[in-house]
Amino acid sequence: MTRLPDYVVRRPSGFYRSTNPGTKLVVAALEVLAAFLLPGWIGPAVVLAAVLATAAVARRLRGLATFGLAASPIVGSILLVNLFLLPGASDPIARLGPLAPTWSGLWFGLQTVARLLAFSSAIALVYLTTTVDDLLADLSRRGLGRRAIFVVGAAVQMVPLTIERAGEILDAQRARGMDTEGRIWRRARGVLPLAGPVVFGALTEVEERTMALEARAFSAPGRKTLLRVPRNGRIDRFLLWAALLALVALVGIRVAGRLG
């Protein structure tokens, strides 16, 4: 049969998840810029509101919450640093011995944190609503070279593989008496026995991988056929161009000094 199977042709469904990946990238870029270029609280507030609303309808709030939790140590430290150590602040909230938290510090810290959360959650939203395969397929359709596509795709898939390999290497060296549970100065001696095989293993594989790719006509000239074609309907295209225009306008207005 010549029909492609469902699992290849089927497109993701759901609000925002079904939106074209390229469009989502441009929207995220707009959100990131807006978080920084719109003045005061407006930037972070608008972006966070948009991202949270989209995530809610796309049913990805829990993912965002997990991400937020992971970011909390950074958030916490930025707040603390600004609260206590903002240079030039002179409006203390209280005096705790040598430490004096300031209102301006609090204000500035909260604003910084808000910006940070806004732009990083915009990026996280793309990650939560798009699969790597669909993203690469879309970039490929838009003309991104096959080598770049391969590098990105392989890199993403290689991460779990490399972690697994590193685990095996760790086991092999521990079985030869390398101490990983004892005193720290002993553990420090384990760098080369651990890093060595990871690097050498990856390098020796490169040649074989290259040959395997060439044996599958990887460097054939001309456009590659795409089996997986993400949706790119009118709304997707409209949204992409609108976001692109807004992005350019935002940068232009800011450069012209019209914003605060």
Binding site: T2, L213, E214, R216, P221, K224, T225
Partner: protein, 271 residues
């Protein structure tokens, strides 16, 4: 119509020693030729040279002539070589493209690279999956396959380019007995149903006894023995050439050397 290596000498880039000193070899469509020899006798090098990847992709110096259906491999680009001669290595994992989500797309990777129309890619993928016998693996994630499944997928992926010849470098060495059997069976089927010529490097001479028509024994980069599979695998010089003969040959030899009278019943039992 064959892959023909004539008076071939080959040296890897940066090496001082010739890995191949004198090779004459012929692979015809529909035939399975087994290649055996001690490690570092040049078996993997013969695979790379026959498939045209050496010196084309890996560099090095080649003397003599390597022709696929009359065309020198040196004049063909890698993607043209890929459509004439498929190549498979030991390690199934390094042969994955790492860019596809399903086995179906992995098998279609080659035809997609050639820019063939979608319908044809689908055709070829289903055909390759069917010939190897792994249609049920089609929806699976290529990164999560067992060793044996991975090799079968790699075989299907190479077949999808419809090459006339297949070169395999120890495809079963990392597989368990069940996986080895699957691959051996699939190869036999491929030779019969597609008429492809297969060059198979193997340590497991039992596999060759099962599916090979001819066997070539290499020693330090040169052909030491060659001929029809059964007599060559029974040749007493195999042991000193660093090759383990098939179990049946070994057992027969042990029985005869112990002075025990040979009989038809014994021959049948040891088969």
């Amino acid at each position: 119509m064959a892959i023909e290596l004539s008076a071939v000498r080959y040296r890897y880039a940066g090496a001082s020693v010739f890995a191949l000193r004198s090779i004459d070899l012929r692979l015809e469509p529909g035939r399975v030729v087994g290649v055996v020899g001690a490690n570092e006798a040049g078996k993997s090098t013969v695979c790379l040279v026959a498939a045209g990847l050496a010196p084309g992709v890996v560099g090095g110096l080649l003397e003599g002539s390597v022709r696929i259906d009359g065309v020198e491999t040196a004049t063909l680009r890698p993607h043209e070589l890929a459509q004439r001669c498929g190549l498979l290595f030991q390690n199934a994992a390094t042969q994955l493209s790492n860019t596809t989500a399903t086995v179906f797309e992995e098998v279609g990777f080659g035809p997609c690279n050639l820019g063939l129309p979608v319908a044809e890619v689908g055709d070829r993928a289903w055909w390759a999956l069917g010939t190897v016998g792994i249609e049920k693996l089609a929806p699976r994630d290529p990164a999560r396959l067992s060793g044996g499944e991975g090799q079968l997928v790699a075989l299907a992926a190479v077949l999808a380019l419809r090459p006339k010849y297949l070169v395999l470098d120890e495809p079963t060495s990392e597989l368990d007995p069940a996986g080895t059997s699957l691959v051996a069976e699939a190869l036999g089927r491929v030779a019969r149903e597609t008429g492809a010529g297969i060059l198979l490097v193997e340590h497991k001479t039992d596999v060759l006894a099962r599916i090979a028509d001819e066997v070539v024994v290499l020693e330090r980069g040169a052909v030491a023995l060659a001929g029809a599979a059964a007599p060559t695998l029974a040749d007493p010089r195999l042991a000193e050439l660093g090759v383990e003969p098939p179990a049946a040959v070994k057992l027969e030899r042990m029985v005869r050397e112990a002075g025990i009278e040979w009989s038809a019943a014994l021959a049948e039992a040891i088969r």
